[in-house]
Symmetry: C3
Subunit: 130 residues, 3 copies
């Protein structure tokens, strides 16, 4: 599971970078806390960070269980694709929210594959054990 652990940690570093960009945008567009709106550009950075949070809650348990129940190598490869898709998403969204589609679709697909694949692995284990 070493490769899966590495991919999980890289996804966390990516997320911390998105968070740092929100902090920078807060200063640049003069949005004083606790406000989280007020300038469209700030809102784009904020939504990229929030959307990554919304996806990590699925990605981390799913990539871990996929690794444990199906294949650590395949889990790590799918996880690496997820991380790259998040960069594509972020670059697209910050450029223009209507262009967030491609990266968003790919990272969503990775989530589905990881969750459904892990569930298949769990059910197979339950049948074998039963």
């Amino acid at each position: 599971m070493n490769w899966v652990a590495g991919v999980v940690l890289l996804s966390l570093i990516e997320y911390l970078v998105f968070g740092a960009l929100v902090g920078r945008a807060r200063g640049k567009y003069a949005i004083a806390a606790p406000a989280v709106s007020g300038h469209p550009m700030f809102e784009r950075y904020f939504r990229v960070h929030q959307n990554s949070l919304e996806q990590l809650i699925v990605f981390i348990p799913a990539v871990w269980l996929f690794g444990g129940y199906v294949s650590p190598l395949v889990a790590a490869i799918l996880g690496a694709i997820f991380i790259v898709a998040r960069i594509v998403y972020a670059v697209g969204y910050i450029g223009a929210p209507e262009r967030r589609g491609s990266g968003s679709g790919l990272s969503f697909l990775m989530q589905i594959v990881l969750v459904v694949g892990a569930l298949y692995g769990v059910i197979r284990s339950l049948i074998v054990a039963g």
Copy 2:
């Protein structure tokens, strides 16, 4: 821990469905990204998804540690109740926010039971090992 893993994955699928409903509501009520407000019905779907995120961050580690330190079977049963309570919550909230109480209270109770139960199991292990 197979049953606990299965329950975790089902909670993720439920959450992905809530996320898909937000996407559909974005189109239906014409809320262009990055906005997350502008129509009360869209805000209900958005808050159901966000609230599920807020609860999964507790539920997933807690159900896993409860399974490992107390009982995998009891963890899976409490987890299944949590998942059903989230459906009750979502249906109630989308119908009328003031009716979100019952499902919300039950899923909150499951969180408390899982966290406190797991903490009891950890403390017991620390005493036995000490």
Copy 3:
């Protein structure tokens, strides 16, 4: 990993307390769901809870992997510092958002140390295994 599990559960209890304070603030400042803004004091409580969520998604996997790959004892100590830093942050933020700096900086630093330390441990394991 008993101490790490205990620290994870304490961080979840802290987060549930922040969530309960949001619920209380909703009543006190008369912010009806699904609204999440409308009174600066409510927004402070809401942001403390949200910010904790944003940090737990990193903290929980990172403290766990740091414990597994580097040292469970050091992971538990860093985790305990993180939990205390969140209290400092919350008290500061609710008092005055511009005073959130110290607790915020310390908990962010703990995240970085846990993620980078765990990544170092994973890379070391990959080299040893390779």
